[in-house]
């Protein structure tokens, strides 16, 4: 009788612990197989059959359709250069060189991956070919609820958000291995 009770406790607790740990471990992406440049993180292998089990589980449970190697790479930033969580109440400026790619887009997404919109109702996204660059080839993009001078990515509302930088037909990984690309720095300006 005592043995049965103990067995029950071990199984029940084990299931609870194992299940809870599994649930917790797919709430966020992990460092496995990731490529981090400053505040930007990418999972170039996310959609491939060679991805690690945690990334695979996360991709499947969210129902994501990750970009494959011949399509592009997706970098996500959750924090600004100082390490503060990105907030829709603040304005930011992205500055610097971008990695070599045929084109890139910069978009603002909510915590759950949905697209955000500016106050004019248009989606928060800009495409590289519509950007202006300085003489050294650097780009400067204002991310703010209010109209910014030069290149502007509009955001609106309040709460945290993620910046997603997608490089298409990119040379991040070539046959000689990893090319460490430069990513723009996210500098916080003022907050409401």
């Amino acid at each position: 009788m005592r043995f049965l009770l103990e067995l029950f406790c071990v199984v029940a607790l084990g299931l609870l612990l194992g299940g809870g740990l599994s649930w917790y471990s797919i709430q966020n992406r992990h460092g496995f197989g990731s490529l981090t440049i400053d505040r930007w993180t990418a999972w170039p292998q996310a959609g491939s059959p060679d991805a690690d089990p945690y990334t695979k589980a996360k991709v499947a449970s969210d129902g994501e359709v990750p970009l494959d190697s011949a399509e592009g790479v997706e970098f996500v930033a959750r924090d600004d250069a100082q390490g503060q969580r990105l907030s829709r109440n603040c304005s930011y400026r992205l500055m610097g060189k971008t990695p070599v790619a045929r084109l890139w887009t910069l978009a603002a997404h909510g915590e759950d991956g949905r697209t955000l919109f500016g106050s004019d109702g248009k989606p928060s996204v800009v495409v590289s070919r519509n950007m202006t660059y300085d003489q050294e080839g650097s780009v400067s993009i204002g991310v703010s609820p209010m109209l910014a001078s030069g290149n502007w990515l509009p955001i609106s509302g309040s709460g945290p958000f993620n910046l997603v930088f997608r490089l298409y037909d990119a040379q991040i990984i070539n046959d000689r291995g990893l090319v460490r690309p430069q990513m723009p720095v996210i500098a916080r300006q003022d907050c409401v």
């Binding site: 071990v10 994501e64 997706e74 697209t115």
Partner: protein, 187 residues
């Protein structure tokens, strides 16, 4: 006391095994994976536009580039090989083929396509052998992909550089066909 420590470590070991099992089994049993989300959007062998730039992302697929229009089609190679075609003069498009569990099998973009036209045939190994015996004009014009899967889906992503491209992107995606490929008659 020793018995309790023994039971405790037994629980931990059991929890660890369960954790590993659950993580490995999630891709096979996820209730809201990409396939399931696309299943709600239409039948097999038919493209449906799952997202259009400008915010019309009604697909529940997370983290979709808002500058892109996306069309998806589910297929089943155990019925027939798949032939996909569309054309249009866009600055950028890409195609990715996924298996039932949402893993990438193959991808390419407009630059690597033949004459920048989208024309591809997906076959399983048996169908590939059949095609090799009986090559046809179609197979010479198209990108031929051998995939060792049964069910899967194909995704076309088309860039809408700015608002003026909206009709072109819409046309490109709605022109896309996703059909069963019929083997040519043996001569």
């Amino acid at each position: 006391m020793r018995r309790l420590a023994y039971l405790g470590s037994l629980t931990l070991v059991f929890a660890g095994i369960m954790h590993i099992l659950i993580i490995l089994l999630i891709p096979s049993y996820a209730a809201q994976d990409a396939w399931t989300k696309l299943e709600e959007r239409g039948e097999l062998w038919r493209f449906s536009t799952v997202a259009l730039p400008g915010g019309a992302n009604t697909s529940k697929l997370p983290s979709i580039d808002p500058a892109f229009g996306i069309a998806a089609c589910r297929f089943d190679l155990s019925e027939a090989p798949l032939i996909v075609e569309t054309s249009g003069d866009l600055p950028f498009w890409s195609v990715a083929i996924f298996d039932r569990k949402g893993r990438n099998i193959y991808s390419f973009n407009d630059r690597t396509a033949i004459e920048r036209r989208l024309s591809l045939i997906v076959v399983d190994p048996v169908q590939m052998a059949q095609l090799r015996k009986n090559p046809s004009e179609d197979t010479e014009r198209a990108v031929l992909i051998e995939a060792d899967v049964k069910q899967g889906f194909i995704l076309i992503r088309a860039l809408q550089q700015d608002q003026s491209w909206a009709p072109v992107v819409r046309q490109f995606l709605s022109d896309a066909t996703c059909q069963r490929y019929e083997f040519p008659d043996e001569a």
